[in-house]
C-alpha cells in the first residue's frame, strides 16, 4: 500500500523523537509528522483537492503528505479523517448516562450496555458511579426505552444527564 516510507524520504536527518515510556504510551514521531498531526486536527474545510494547499503550508509535496497521512493512519496515530458531525443539530438525542454497578456484575452489565448499537462509547471510571456511556438515538422515546431495558436487564439504575448547554467542544491534542 505504501509506495515509499514518508519519514525516510523526508527526514533523513531528522531523528524520531522518543519519549520515555511512562504509561505504556509510545511516541515515535518525527517533527514533520507532529506538524502534520497538529495542522490536520484543525478544520481544513471543503475543497475538491484539500491536500494540495495543506502540503504547501507544511512545505511538502502533495504525494508526500498523502503518504505520510496514510502511514500515520496505519500506525494508529490517526483514527479517522473527515467531517465531524454534530448530533446536537439533529432531531436525535445524545446523552451521557452513568450507572453504579457492583463489581461482581460489572462485566455482565457492560455486555448488556454495549450490545446496543446506539451506545457510542462506554468507559469504566474510578468513582462511585463507575460506568459512563454515551447514548445516541433518533428520538427521546427510543433513548428512554433503551435505558428502561438496561435497568431491567442489569438490575441497576441509570442516571440520564442530557446536555443542556455546550460551552466548548474542540479536542486538540498537540503532538
Amino acid at each position: 500500500m505504501k509506495f515509499f516510507s514518508a519519514q525516510n524520504v523526508l527526514n533523513k536527518k531528522e531523528q524520531a523523537i522518543k519519549t520515555p515510556d511512562r504509561l505504556h504510551s509510545q511516541i515515535e514521531l518525527t517533527e514533520t509528522e507532529k506538524k502534520v498531526l497538529n495542522l490536520l486536527q484543525k478544520d481544513f474545510g471543503f475543497e475538491v483537492r484539500p491536500f494540495e494547499g495543506l502540503a504547501k503550508k507544511l512545505g511538502l509535496k502533495e504525494p508526500e503528505l498523502l503518504s505520510m497521512i496514510g502511514d500515520l493512519k496505519e500506525r494508529g496515530y490517526i483514527t479517522r479523517i473527515g467531517p465531524f458531525f454534530n448530533m446536537d443539530k439533529t432531531s436525535g438525542q445524545v446523552t451521557l448516562v452513568a450507572m453504579r454497578v457492583p463489581e461482581e456484575s460489572f462485566e455482565k452489565t457492560a455486555e448488556i450496555v454495549n450490545s446496543y448499537v446506539e451506545i457510542a462509547h462506554n468507559y469504566k471510571r474510578d468513582h462511585e458511579f463507575n460506568m459512563w456511556f454515551v447514548l445516541a438515538c433518533s428520538d427521546k422515546k427510543r433513548a428512554s426505552d433503551i435505558l428502561s431495558e438496561i435497568e431491567k436487564l442489569s438490575g441497576c439504575k441509570t442516571m440520564n444527564l442530557p446536555k443542556i448547554r455546550e460551552f466548548n467542544l474542540d479536542l486538540y491534542l498537540e503532538a
Partner: protein
C-alpha cells in the same frame, strides 16, 4: 440512529447518502470526494457544496483528523465535574473555554439526591500530575463561582465505536 432531521437545513436523500458514506471518513487521495461522486452519480463540486452547506448550519463542526489520545501520549483523561450556581454557569463555562485546554465543556442537569454537579469539563494530560495542575488552574479561574468539584478518571475503555447513523 437513523431517520434524523437537521435543524436549519432540509437534508434530501442525496445529503443523507453523503453523510452515511462519510461516516468512516474521506479517502486519503488527491481528490477525496471523487470516488464518492462517481458512486452517487454527481459532480465532485456538488458533494463539496453540500458539505459546505451542512457546515454552515453547524451540522458539521470541522473537516479534520481524529487522533488516538493514548498514542500521542495523553494517557490521563479525566472528567472534572463542578457544582456551580445556575446564574454563574455561563461565566464559568466561558472561562473554562478561554483556558484553551478544556476539550469538552457542557452544562448537564443535577440528579438529586445522588448527583450534585452541573458543569462537566474534560481534561487530557500526559500524566496525572499534568491533569492535576490543570485542575488547580481551573479552580483558581472560577474561584467563587463553584461550591465543590470532583475529578473522575477513566480506567478502561469498554466500548468506542462512535455514533452510528446507520443500522
Amino acid at each position: 440512529m437513523k431517520d434524523f432531521e437537521v435543524t436549519g437545513l432540509k437534508l434530501d436523500e442525496m445529503d443523507k447518502k453523503i453523510v452515511l458514506l462519510l461516516q468512516e471518513g474521506i479517502s486519503v487521495t488527491e481528490r477525496p470526494y471523487l470516488e464518492l461522486a462517481n458512486q452517487l452519480g454527481v459532480a465532485e463540486d456538488e458533494i463539496v457544496e453540500r458539505l459546505k452547506a451542512m457546515k454552515s448550519v453547524g451540522f458539521i463542526r470541522k473537516n479534520a483528523v481524529a487522533t488516538n489520545h493514548y498514542k500521542l501520549g495523553y494517557t490521563a483523561n479525566a472528567m472534572s465535574v463542578w457544582d456551580v450556581d445556575p446564574e454563574k454557569l455561563e461565566q464559568a463555562g466561558l472561562l473554562f473555554k478561554e483556558l484553551g485546554f478544556v476539550s469538552h465543556c457542557y452544562e448537564r442537569p443535577k440528579f438529586a439526591p445522588e448527583w450534585d454537579y452541573n458543569l462537566f469539563a474534560m481534561v487530557h494530560g500526559k500524566s496525572k500530575e499534568e491533569v492535576n495542575e490543570k485542575i488547580e488552574t481551573m479552580k483558581k479561574t472560577i474561584q467563587g463561582l463553584f461550591r465543590k468539584t470532583d475529578l473522575i478518571y477513566s480506567t478502561k475503555i469498554l466500548k468506542k465505536t462512535g455514533i452510528r447513523l446507520k443500522e
